[in-house]
Symmetry: C2
């Protein structure tokens, strides 16, 4: 038996997830089959089944991957020392959405929209979506608290509710970008600045 | 042959659409079959096929129905004589979303989320979504113009971009309501009021 390093295993797993993502973007969760993922990955059936025992396991992995796409953003956003306004945080978030959407291995925002639909009937994907989106919203709530401490947002407002609204911008942006095709971070920010206090 | 009135035809069609909606909420677009829609409708197969020749036609009809759920709102919103702020328009829109979601014949917002996913791969549903959402966004743009005329929003801002942002609130609200379950028009409006100028 060859000695397989952890790094090699992770790269292989990523290769399979990327292949599955391409299949799902093309055909949706329901029509994608294990045979297609195997063919798209360029690996043997045995290799793929060594990582994922069933289509359900692959669907869970790519949904997790798509719903995690914004996770990495907030380390950067919350690490800034300067006053952090809601508009500045949204600017970083919207630019990040476009960056991950335009990566060459497939637009994860397309997979995220399918994961939303799937979550409504698949308890495992619902649990993933709830965990990821609670965490993302907590980060927007932290932005609200920072802005309240900086004096750019009313300190008497409930930061949880401000977090709901800030988080709620992202699905609307993602959906308009894919369905109407004419929104960019720049147009959205122009609209936001006209509406927001700060 | 019995004489079938137009009213009777419309009521029958609505009965089939409502049955299909219940099936799709339960199982999604892909797993729903004509046989299940027929059973759920309580009509004969011949009666159902008299209205919809295929599952594709039924899917198109319930997607259209779900994506139209907010249409009726704007006649009321734009008819108001009083100054119309973006917050007031969003308050009416969010309350309307909850009203249509809680109708006894099935939560159309669940069908709308599935229609978003389906639109990415089904050109007919994409065309419906584009038409409906352009129209809805035009209505939010009209709200922005009203607010600019009333002096509550910066008259130099582009109302199209304000319309993008206002329209973009609805998907985020719908998604959080179904996945995280803790948003209401009241919590959202509290967050909005803390962030918005007016």
């Amino acid at each position: 038996m060859p000695k397989v390093t952890e790094e090699h295993r992770l790269a292989r797993r990523q290769q399979i997830v990327a292949a599955a993502r391409r299949c799902v973007i093309e055909q949706g969760f329901h029509k994608t089959t294990m045979a297609e993922v195997i063919r798209e990955s360029g690996l043997s059936a045995g290799a793929v089944y060594g990582y994922f025992k069933s289509k359900e396991e692959i669907v869970a992995a790519i949904a997790d991957d798509a719903l995690s796409a914004v996770d990495e953003l907030f380390q950067k956003v919350l690490a800034t020392e300067a006053p952090l306004t809601p508009v500045a945080a949204l600017e970083m978030a919207l630019n990040h959405v476009v960056t991950v959407a335009e990566r060459p291995d497939g637009d994860v925002t397309r997979v995220a929209i399918q994961a939303w639909a799937e979550a409504l009937r698949n308890p495992a994907i619902m649990a993933t979506a709830q965990g990821k989106y609670h965490q993302l919203r907590d980060n927007f709530e932290a932005v609200a608290r920072r802005a309240q401490a900086d004096g750019t947002v009313d300190p008497d407002a409930d930061p949880r509710y401000i977090g709901q609204v800030l988080f709620g911008f992202l699905p609307g942006f993602i959906l308009q970008r894919l369905i109407l095709g004419d929104v960019t971070p720049e147009t959205y920010l122009a609209g936001l600045k006209a509406l927001f206090r700060s």
